[in-house]
């Protein structure tokens, strides 16, 4: 059994599949299936392809309902559960905020007037879902799968690897990852968590035997104005940037849940976010906005 690693480009990032397999042909076969599944999901839910289901739903905003398949309907059910559990903070229609936020050097955050124009187009509770169809009632509204599409792709890739016969593998899409099982010899995998302020530096290396890890941070896309950082995690009610955390990392049975948990924690802010993570009962690792580390990752057993 050897460890085989395959890097690939998808979702505008460098990603990786690592798999333990008896020989290279089998490893390549398993990795290829996983990578294929990731590309399929990327294509299906991409904003940038006019023929994707997301683009068709958005193009029909203000017009008639669009038929969706089971996979899409279930993903939207998941988005709905997140919206409910987060008290409306997790909102799959908040992608329109992209129109007024430009996370580039030298840019300024949008004014209240600019935000007001797009805030009127946000509201998951207004999305009409019925009988296998989806309708956005107001023209200009958008569905954005960016908040959970990557995590879903990680979980699907993990399942595909399992079905292809892998017993010990890791799928990593730009830092959101799932681990299928311990490495041979019983050793856990080592997951490096990006330091929120220092490039190419790990904040921590977590020993993970199985499960998924997802991180939300204020360092992926942001702008700084007047000494204040504004990041791409935006509150759908105010349109403003989330405050309180530099990064949140969560360990959960599925990457979907780990990703939503970490995003919702960022949106809740420092105190409510920590309370949310504790109530969930999932191991987590956070860096507060002042740089303080909150470590609730490892169980208190002999190590």
């Amino acid at each position: 059994m050897g460890l085989h690693r395959y890097a690939f480009h998808a979702m505008a990032a460098t990603n990786e599949v690592q798999v333990h397999a008896p020989d290279r042909p089998r490893a390549e076969a398993m990795a290829a299936r996983a990578i294929e599944e990731v590309r399929r999901i990327e294509a299906k839910y991409s904003r940038y392809r006019p023929d994707s289901i997301v683009s068709r739903i958005n193009a029909a905003a203000g017009a008639g309902p669009v038929a969706v398949d089971t996979e899409t309907a279930q993903l939207l059910d998941y988005a709905d559960a997140c919206w409910r559990q987060s008290g409306g903070l997790f909102d799959a229609t908040s992608g329109v905020l992209r129109r007024v936020w430009r996370f580039e050097a030298g840019r300024r955050p949008p004014t209240d007037a600019e935000l007001a124009t797009v805030l009127a187009l946000i509201g998951w509770d207004r999305v009409e879902r019925a009988n296998g169809t989806v309708r956005l009632p107001v023209a200009g509204m958008e569905l954005d799968f960016g908040g959970f599409g990557k995590e879903y792709a990680v979980d699907r890739a993990a399942l595909v690897l399992r079905e292809a016969g892998a017993t010990s593998a890791l799928v990593n899409l730009a830092g959101d990852l799932a681990i299928l099982g311990e490495q041979p010899g019983g050793e856990p995998w080592r997951v490096a968590v990006q330091h929120p302020r220092r490039e190419a530096t790990a904040l921590a290396t977590l020993p993970v035997a199985s499960g998924a890890i997802a991180t939300s941070g204020d360092y992926e896309r942001y702008l700084e104005a007047d000494g204040v950082r504004h990041c791409h995690v935006l509150d759908p009610r105010t349109g403003r940037s989330a405050r309180g955390f530099q990064s949140v990392t969560v360990h959960a049975p599925s990457c979907l849940v780990a990703g939503s948990a970490s995003t919702i924690a960022m949106l809740e802010g420092h105190e409510a976010g920590l309370a949310w993570l504790e109530a969930l009962g999932l191991p987590h690792l956070c860096v507060l906005s002042d740089g303080t580390l909150v470590d609730r990752f490892a169980p208190l057993s002999r190590g």
């Binding site: 856990p188 921590a204 290396t205 977590l206 020993p207 580390l293 470590d295 490892a298 190590g303």
Partner: protein, 68 residues
Amino acid sequence: MKRAAALALLAALSACTTVAPYQRGYLARPDMALGADPGTTRALDKTFDAKEAARGGASVGGGGCGCN
């Protein structure tokens, strides 16, 4: 004098940085354990204690042996 050295060691150690639980991946490796498995440790101790005057150091209450 030996006691002073021991206390100095203790003081120096307390100045070390804190390593959080999630950073202990390497420390959990079997080759980082501070002793071998109980069987091998006992066998090595027995081998050397039978031929040398020095003994002990790691634990107490292990009982004696004739060692003749």
